[in-house]
C-alpha cells in the first residue's frame, strides 16, 4: 500500500513481486507515452512536489476502503519521458476480480483529474503545447 513519484523508470514485474498476498485478483494499469502518429518524441511531466504524494496516498487509501483491497500501489514518473516509456502504473489486489478492476478504474479516474501533474508535448522541434484536460476525464469521476 504505497504511492511513489519518481523520475526513474519502473518495472511492472518487479512492482508485482510479492504484491497482494492471498489476493486472488490483481489488476494493473500502465500508461505509456504515445507518439501521436510520429508528432511527438517525448512528454515532459511537471508535478507539485509534496502535494502529489499526499494526493496519491489519499486516493489509494480511499480505494482500499471502498473496494476492500488487500494491496494497492501507485507509481507516477515526472520529467522528460520518451515515446514508448511507461508514465505511471496503478496496481490493485482484491479477493475477486470485480473489486480489483473497479478499484483500478477508480484510481485512474482520480489520478487523471485530481492529481497535480501536467503534461507537455515535446516534438522534433522541442517543447510544444501543454496537453489539455479531456472533458470526459472529468465526466468519468462523476460515476464514483
Amino acid at each position: 500500500m504505497s504511492a511513489r513519484v519518481q523520475s526513474e523508470p519502473f518495472d511492472i514485474g518487479a512492482e508485482l513481486r510479492g504484491f497482494g498476498a492471498d489476493a486472488g485478483a490483481v489488476v494493473t494499469f500502465s500508461g505509456l507515452v504515445r507518439s501521436e502518429d510520429g508528432r511527438l518524441t517525448a512528454l515532459e511531466i511537471e508535478h507539485y512536489p509534496g502535494m502529489t504524494e499526499k494526493a496519491l496516498t489519499a486516493f489509494g487509501a480511499a480505494a482500499a476502503q471502498r473496494f476492500d483491497l488487500t494491496d494497492w500501489r501507485i507509481v507516477h514518473r515526472h520529467g522528460i519521458l520518451s515515446v514508448g516509456e511507461p508514465i505511471m502504473m496503478v496496481a490493485t489486489a482484491a479477493r475477486h476480480r470485480k473489486a480489483a478492476f473497479d478499484a483500478a478504474e477508480y484510481l485512474m479516474d482520480w489520478l487523471k483529474s485530481r492529481a497535480p501533474f501536467w503534461k507537455r508535448e515535446i516534438g522534433p522541434d522541442g517543447p510544444g503545447e501543454w496537453v489539455a484536460a479531456r472533458p470526459d476525464d472529468e465526466d468519468a469521476l462523476a460515476r464514483w
Binding site: G31, E46, H47, Y48, G50, M51, K54, A55, H76, I87, M88, M108, L111, K112, S113, R114, A115, P116, F117, W118, K119, R120, W130, V131, A132, A133, E138
Partner: protein, 83 residues
C-alpha cells in the same frame, strides 16, 4: 500576512516565476487572485480566465471562494493531466 504562491505548467510560464511570496489581507482565494492579477500585465493575462485555473490551499484542492484563513501556501495551476 505572507503567503507563498506557487504556479505550475502554463500559468508558471505566463507569469514568469514558479513561486513568489505575497503580502496579503485577502479573505478568500478569489480576493488573493484579484490582488495578483493587479500586479502586472503578465499576472493579469495568466489569470484572466479563472475557469481555466485550479487551486490548492496548503496542498489541498479547493475553490475560488474558499477562505484563505492562515494559509501558508496557495498554488494556482491549469486543469490537471496526470496518468
Amino acid at each position: 500576512m505572507a503567503v507563498e504562491v506557487l504556479y505550475f505548467a502554463w500559468l508558471r510560464e505566463r507569469i514568469g516565476v514558479p513561486r513568489e511570496t505575497v503580502q496579503t489581507d485577502a479573505a478568500t482565494v478569489r480576493d488573493l487572485i484579484a490582488q495578483l492579477a493587479a500586479m502586472d500585465e503578465w499576472h493579469a493575462a495568466a489569470l484572466s480566465d479563472l475557469s481555466a485555473v485550479r487551486i490548492a490551499v496548503d496542498q489541498e484542492l479547493t475553490d475560488l471562494d474558499a477562505p484563505l484563513g492562515h494559509a501558508r501556501e496557495v498554488a494556482l495551476f491549469p486543469p490537471m493531466t496526470g496518468g
